[in-house]
């Protein structure tokens, strides 16, 4: 298994997309950190309660972008195997497809975690450097953990879509359509059918409630804290499982 993990890791590091895709969330982390440090600075004079939240908003925005780009990373990392048929020699050299796919998903999740850690660390540094009152306590650690968890979940959702569609472009388009807009539209349609509460259990909403739940006591109309991350991970398992199941039986032509 170590051999396959090394192979999957090298598949990523011998290409450039892993750091190219990290540029956007890191840039967001930089600006969100700087901007909300300034906002935080202004608010300090008004209300002490609000300041922590303002500093946290910088991290929320960062996590939101990290999740999307971790998803895109997963989509590209899985889909590119089909685009250039590089899955063929992998399956020829390791006849157990399950182990290959497991290694790919593990490496994808590791990069999802890496994206979140790098971006949130950068955002936290910027927040502090520009005068934000970020409290390095247990709740910040929880927020970091929530960020890492959501990023891993989205990297697996992306990888699952990449495997299921056998295409990085298709999976990336699906993510880009769903994450910022699609889920809202689906939520509105669900609400039209009187099932608006279901929208809180869609992956985008769950990401929000996971992150907010870690930072606050939760908000109304969102999934409650311990359930939110669990159901988000269930979405990740569903997507990754679907991609896995389709790929293990697929004819590689």
């Amino acid at each position: 298994m170590t051999a396959l993990l090394t192979a999957e890791l090298r598949k990523v590091t011998t290409l450039r997309f892993w750091w190219a895709l990290a540029i956007a969330p890191l840039a967001v982390a930089l600006f969100a950190g700087a901007i909300f440090a300034a906002v935080d600075d202004t608010l300090t004079t008004m209300d002490a309660e609000l300041t922590t939240s303002a500093a946290n908003v910088g991290l929320f925005i960062t996590i939101g972008w990290v999740a999307l780009f971790a998803g895109l990373f997963g989509a590209v990392n899985a889909g590119t195997e089909f685009r250039y048929s590089t899955l063929t020699p992998t399956f020829l050299m390791a006849s157990d497809r399950d182990r290959v796919l497991a290694a790919k998903l593990i490496v994808t999740a590791a990069f999802g975690a890496l994206y979140a850690i790098a971006a949130m660390a950068l955002a936290a540094i910027c927040l502090t450097a520009f005068g934000g009152a970020l409290e390095f306590d247990g709740s910040l650690a929880e927020l970091f953990a929530a960020g890492v968890l959501t990023s891993i979940a989205w990297s697996l959702i992306g990888a699952g879509l990449g495997l299921a569609f056998a295409s990085s472009i298709g999976a990336a388009i699906a993510l880009l359509a769903w994450y910022p807009v699609g889920e809202m539209i689906v939520g509105a349609i669900l609400a039209g059918f009187g099932a608006g509460s279901v929208a809180a259990w869609l992956p985008g909403a769950l990401t929000l409630s996971t992150v907010l739940g870690a930072a606050t006591d939760g908000l109304s109309d969102t999934a409650p804290w311990p359930l939110a991350p669990i159901v988000l991970l269930a979405w990740a398992a569903l997507s990754a499982g679907l991609g896995w199941w389709l790929t293990r039986a697929r004819d590689i032509t």
Binding site: A3, T14, L15, S85, M93
Partner: protein, 317 residues
Amino acid sequence: MSAGGHPAALEAIGLSKQFKTVDAVSDLSFTVPQGSITGFLGPNGAGKTTTLRMLLGLVRPTAGTATIAGVPFAALTQPARVVGAVLDSLSLHPNRTALGHLLVYTAATGLPDSRARQVLALVGLEQAAHQKAGTFSLGMRQRLALATALLGDPQMLVLDEPANGLDPEGIAWLREFLKAFARSGRTVLVSSHILREVEQTVDRLVIVSEGRLVYQGGIDDLRRSRQGRILIAGSDPATLAIALAANGITDAQVLPDGRLAVTGAELDTIAAIAQPAGVRIFGATAEPVDLEQVFLSMTSGRYAADYQPGQHYGGPR
């Protein structure tokens, strides 16, 4: 089934593959004996690629089984050490360097990284180790794909149309390479849609047409099974043809250069018939069998037989 008592390196037993409504391969059985260079011949669309991918466990057969070294591909614990394959896709990411590409697969198979350099040298690409595969010519990509197949020092090689995109120099290089590979007792299965490409390399042939087996056996056996023509330069070809026909040798044809091409008779027999008929023979040349013609006649049936007058093939009605 196996030739010369050698065990089968690769074997297809009743392989069939249906893609939606298309029968790509139908009940195909053949054997590739160990130590042979077997040509896998058939026109484009005959099901060669699908068959090779079924042998390699990449495509699941609708029916039948395929074995490598006696077991299905999925049962091989270290497949890279048993079989290497160069398939039509070549499977190279254009933005990965040649060395980077190979290092992915040395890792996957647990081989030392130094092996990547070795196989690059083996195929003559050591100068291009740090170039991206996307900048390579098709011939170089073929070589890199071959280097990948050779990483595990496999006992057999499966090559799908390797001559595609190779220049004559590359084809000659590949021919020598495969012969050397087989001389060490290892096995090669190489597909092509042109017999001439592999005629000088292979010792056995498996010929398929429309997903079905039409011939398998030694290339010399195929050559022997078809008689060559004898070209007779004589004083009166027409008279000779009549005399031959009277003696039951009916396949004689006057060529544009005035010679008579006779099939199915030895020169001695022809001479014995010519003398009483008053035809003098100035010279005779034995024309070897054109295997390409034999191959085409075996596989082109579908073009000749499918057409029936009055039948419409698409188009407006």
